[in-house]
């Protein structure tokens, strides 16, 4: 593997840190309903995993995300959120009224489900924006 400026210490620390950061990000997202956390924090954690990879391994990072892909993902996350709102209107409720989701579940379980879906949208949006900004700041002139 070609590492331009990664030393052994950096590389080992990176190998141990990034998987745990990503798992913790997913945990913060999925468990945000019961404990402090939620979409914004989870998105920041997932983005930091990618940014850290870029910081340690440079431009030949094994775990990379293009800035274009990132900003498209961010728009997709916002679209998921707004789409849930529009869908609940189509299903005959108020905007973002999760109790109208047509699943065979009581409203007490439907509402946390709706919250989880919009939190996933927020996570994808925040992750994409952070990666896109980092990519725009560090990109070289010749690869636009």
């Amino acid at each position: 593997m070609n590492r331009p400026f990664g030393t052994t210490i950096l590389d080992t620390a990176f190998r141990y840190m990034v998987p745990f950061i990503m798992v913790y990000g997913v945990y913060v997202l999925l468990h945000g309903e019961y404990s402090p956390g939620g979409g914004f924090q989870a998105g920041a954690l997932l983005a930091i995993a990618v940014v850290l990879t870029r910081l340690v391994q440079g431009r030949e990072a094994i775990f990379d995300m293009n800035g274009d892909t990132a900003i498209i993902l961010a728009g997709l996350g916002t679209l998921i959120y707004a789409g849930v709102g529009v869908a609940t209107v189509i299903w005959g409720g108020n905007f973002l009224d999760y109790a109208t989701i047509p699943l065979d579940l009581p409203a007490k379980e439907l509402r946390p489900l709706g919250i989880l879906v919009i939190e996933v949208g927020v996570t994808i949006c925040v992750m994409g924006v952070i990666i896109a900004i980092y990519d725009a700041l560090t990109r070289k002139d010749d690869d636009i």
Partner: protein
């Protein structure tokens, strides 16, 4: 001119301090903010939203419209950053540059 602005600043400071004296104390249960909608959230949030975390219940259910706006603002911020930083202006020596 300097004296005038100094006097004006001191008057403004006095006004702000005077205004802040009328604010309710932090944690005052008789303050207007704590009397109106907060008790209802605290009492009924779990029953109505099914989320045991009060912060999530308010953020993503009662005020999810607000959070939609926040998410949109973040997306717009990212898009604006890309639009500003990725302009082609000022890249005269792009042709001669090689990749290390």
């Amino acid at each position: 001119m300097k004296i005038l602005s100094a006097v004006f600043s001191i008057i403004l400071l006095g006004l702000l301090v005077f205004g802040s004296l009328g604010l309710p104390f932090i944690g005052d249960k008789n303050s207007p903010a704590a009397e109106h909608v907060s008790p209802r959230y605290i009492e009924k949030a779990y029953k109505e939203t099914g989320s045991p975390n009060l912060v999530t219940a308010v953020l993503a259910d009662y005020r999810s419209f607000d959070t939609l706006g926040e998410t949109t603002v973040i997306f717009i911020a990212g898009a604006a950053t890309i639009l500003i930083l990725r302009t082609t202006a000022g890249r005269k020596d792009a042709e001669g540059g090689s990749d290390e």
